[in-house]
């Protein structure tokens, strides 16, 4: 029953992605309305599916990396719906949803429901907080990435002085820069606190912080990139293109991190 719901949610996201991309190419208001409906429907189904899993397992659906990614996707969609209205960026879906979809499908297809020994590891309440904070951070960085990508595309059009289709569809640079900055400022504290908790917990439980865990190592790389971007923004007044490139690189590192966690042997379970 519950996997079916999750499949339906994914199906909703697939439809929403297609419609959003179509809206990017063809400015038809009904496409946008349908995309919104599909997104919300997918999200609601996703919510029910997650609640179902939580009730069945008697714990938050964060017991494995793929479960956690699924929740991160859920948060990202919610934030994307909010940001679209807040910033009036109607094409946001076309940039967020494909990413959401890739993560969502991944988390739905690599679904180990019970990792041996997970119950013991999850005994500590701190581990839940660690997972929860990190995935809130990841959700914010999905938006950060989408904003940066839009910025780079629009900036290119303006520099090249040959307006293409995207020039007309994408919003102004300042709005995109603001979206990128805000999502960075939102995601970074979550990621930082989450990682610190993870490090503390790992030190106690595993003995060594980064012992044989590619995810932990790579997450530190991603964090460093984001920390550098934030520092550059706040102190050196980086704006625009440079900040956008860093946001994209940071997100690439984040994706690698999660990929490593899912596909390489390590302590975050694969």
């Amino acid at each position: 029953m519950y996997p079916t719901l999750l499949d339906l949610a994914i199906f909703g996201y697939i439809a929403a992605t297609g419609l959003s991309l179509a809206y990017l190419v063809q400015r038809e208001e009904w496409l946008h309305r349908l995309a919104s409906v599909a997104t919300i429907a997918g999200w609601v189904l996703h919510t029910v599916a997650l609640l179902g899993v939580a009730f069945r397992l008697g714990r938050p659906p964060l017991g494995s990396l793929s479960e956690a990614v699924s929740v991160a996707v859920w948060v990202a969609v919610l934030w994307a719906l909010w940001a679209e209205r807040q910033y009036g960026v109607k094409v946001l879906g076309a940039f967020v949803l494909p990413v959401v979809l890739v993560f969502g499908i991944n988390s739905a297809t690599t679904r180990p429901l019970a990792i041996p020994g997970i119950e013991r590891a999850l005994g500590s309440a701190w581990i839940w907080v660690h997972i929860g904070l990190v995935l809130l951070g990841i959700a914010a960085f999905v938006l950060n990435f989408a904003g940066a990508l839009m910025y780079v595309l629009q900036e290119r059009q303006l520099k090249a002085k040959r307006p293409g289709k995207l020039y007309y569809r994408l919003p102004d640079l300042e709005t995109l820069d603001r979206l990128t900055y805000r999502t960075l400022a939102l995601g970074f504290p979550f990621l930082t606190t989450g990682l610190i908790l993870g490090v503390l917990w790992a030190g106690r439980a595993w003995g060594s912080v980064f012992a044989y865990d590619p995810l932990a190592l790579l997450s530190f790389v991603a964090w460093t990139i984001y920390a550098g971007t934030l520092a550059g923004r706040a102190a050196a007044g980086w704006h625009g293109r440079r900040a956008a490139y860093f946001a994209i690189i940071g997100f690439a590192a984040l994706v690698l991190t999660l990929g490593a966690g899912m596909f390489l042997p390590g302590r975050h379970g694969s």
Binding site: L158, K161, P163, D172, R178, H239, G240, R241
Partner: protein
């Protein structure tokens, strides 16, 4: 009775002729009354702009009406009817509706999407209304045409993208900055075109405005005209540091803003974007400044290129608008058709309801001991029978009206059900 439109436009008539035929408001009133007085048209409206002279009307014989109207109009304007007649086009019924919608939606305009035409159609309508030459047919047609015009403007981007260089610059600024309110503008040089671009920016809320010019006197004059402040030409670099948008239009033979200068300026701006609108020929800003981060430098050729792209985008949108208009025409005609058959449908229902109520009353009179349940059953039964009987003729009527063949069906229904005169 047929709805028609007859006239000429920029598509087929030269400007000299259109000029000669254009009628001013006062004369238009007179003309409308004269035409109404001839009795060839039941309703009429004249749309006279610099790009078209068209007569909309309802007449028994549109061809004859067209001849009468234009002969009258030519007499008014002292133009020979013979030179006008071959240029006239006429659209009747469905085609007239289609034409009216396209005109109101600015799809028939010389510059597709230009916004004035809708206002001009509205004025023409108000004028004809004032002269009492608008009846129900033109009223329904034009009210709907206004709605279609508005819909096309809001649902397509036909009128969105600037087709003049100065407006294109404003739009570019809006793709760099989130709104132009409170953006500081520096105008370098005191040319007409630069002033125009500056005015557009001011209209969008840009503030404050600084003016620099080689002659201090001229800078002050221009500053006063734009409610801005003059700044010394020698301190151009200082001024650059504090503004967001720079318009340059001097006659200088060499660039007055160099890449090195912009680089220095950008250093102190903490990456705040700087947008150069360089409409001077030869250019005032070194083109290579565009390669600097957060600097956007558009010269007159770049702006023209943007305008061309905008025009192409408008044409793409116009295709979507055509589809939308066609859909609206179909809807309008369907509704019109229904309007024609609705009175018959209503009287048909009334007639059968009358019979039903009468028969039920008689039946109940013969059943003095009937319970509430029985009464209810009889009411229900009779209503159901009436509705079932009505279903087929009503849908047939609606269908036929949409197919344009309602007349014979209307007569048939009246005859069969004894509905009396239509």
């Amino acid at each position: 009775m047929a709805l028609f439109v007859a006239g000429l436009s920029h598509k087929n008539a030269p400007v000299e002729l259109r000029e000669q035929l254009a009628v001013e408001e006062d004369k238009l009133r007179e003309l409308l009354r004269d035409i109404a007085a001839t009795g060839v048209v039941q309703e009429t409206l004249i749309l006279s702009t610099c790009n078209r002279v068209e007569v909309y009307g309802v007449a028994e014989a549109p061809g004859e009406a067209r001849a009468v109207v234009f002969r009258q109009l030519c007499r008014y304007r002292g133009v020979s009817h013979a030179s006008v007649e071959p240029l006239l086009y006429t659209h009747v019924d469905d085609a007239a509706v289609h034409h009216a919608f396209r005109v109101a939606a600015s799809l028939d305009s010389m510059l597709i999407g230009e916004p004035q035409i809708l206002g001009q159609v509205k004025d023409a309508f108000a004028l004809a209304q004032g002269c009492e030459t608008v009846g129900p047919a033109l009223h329904t047609l034009f009210t709907q045409a206004f709605a279609v015009g508005k819909k096309v403007r809001s649902e397509t981007e036909i009128a969105r993208h600037a087709v003049s260089v100065s407006f294109a610059a404003v739009e570019l600024a809006k793709k760099i900055f989130a709104g132009l309110g409170g953006r500081a503008v520096l105008l370098v040089g005191a040319g007409k075109m630069g002033e125009l671009a500056a005015r557009h920016l001011v209209e969008q809320g840009a503030f404050p405005i600084y003016v620099a010019n080689r002659t201090w006197q001229r800078a002050q004059e221009m500053a006063r005209a734009l409610s801005g402040a003059a700044v010394p030409f020698a301190e151009l670099e200082v001024a650059l540091a504090g503004v967001d948008i720079v318009i340059t239009s001097t006659g200088a033979p060499e660039p007055i803003v160099t890449r090195a200068m912009v680089q220095r300026v950008m250093h102190g701006r903490r990456a705040r974007p700087l947008f150069f609108i360089d409409i001077a020929v030869p250019r005032d800003v070194e083109g290579s400044a565009n390669t600097l981060d957060n600097v956007y430098c558009y010269d007159i050729d770049d702006l023209k290129q943007v305008v061309e792209a905008n025009l192409r985008e408008r044409l793409r949108e116009a295709q979507r608008a055509e589809v939308l208009v066609e859909r609206e025409v179909a809807k309008f005609l369907a509704r019109q058709g229904d309007v024609e058959v609705i009175p018959t449908i209503v009287s048909l229902r009334e007639r059968l309801e009358e019979i039903r109520v009468g028969e039920v009353k008689k039946a109940l009179a013969r059943l003095p001991g009937a319970t509430a349940e029985t009464r209810e059953a009889i009411e229900g039964l009779s209503s159901a029978i009436v509705n079932k009987i009505l279903h087929a003729p009503i849908s047939k009527l609606r269908e036929s009206s949409r197919a344009g063949s309602s007349r014979s069906w209307l007569e048939l229904v009246h005859e069969l059900f004894g509905l009396g005169r239509k």
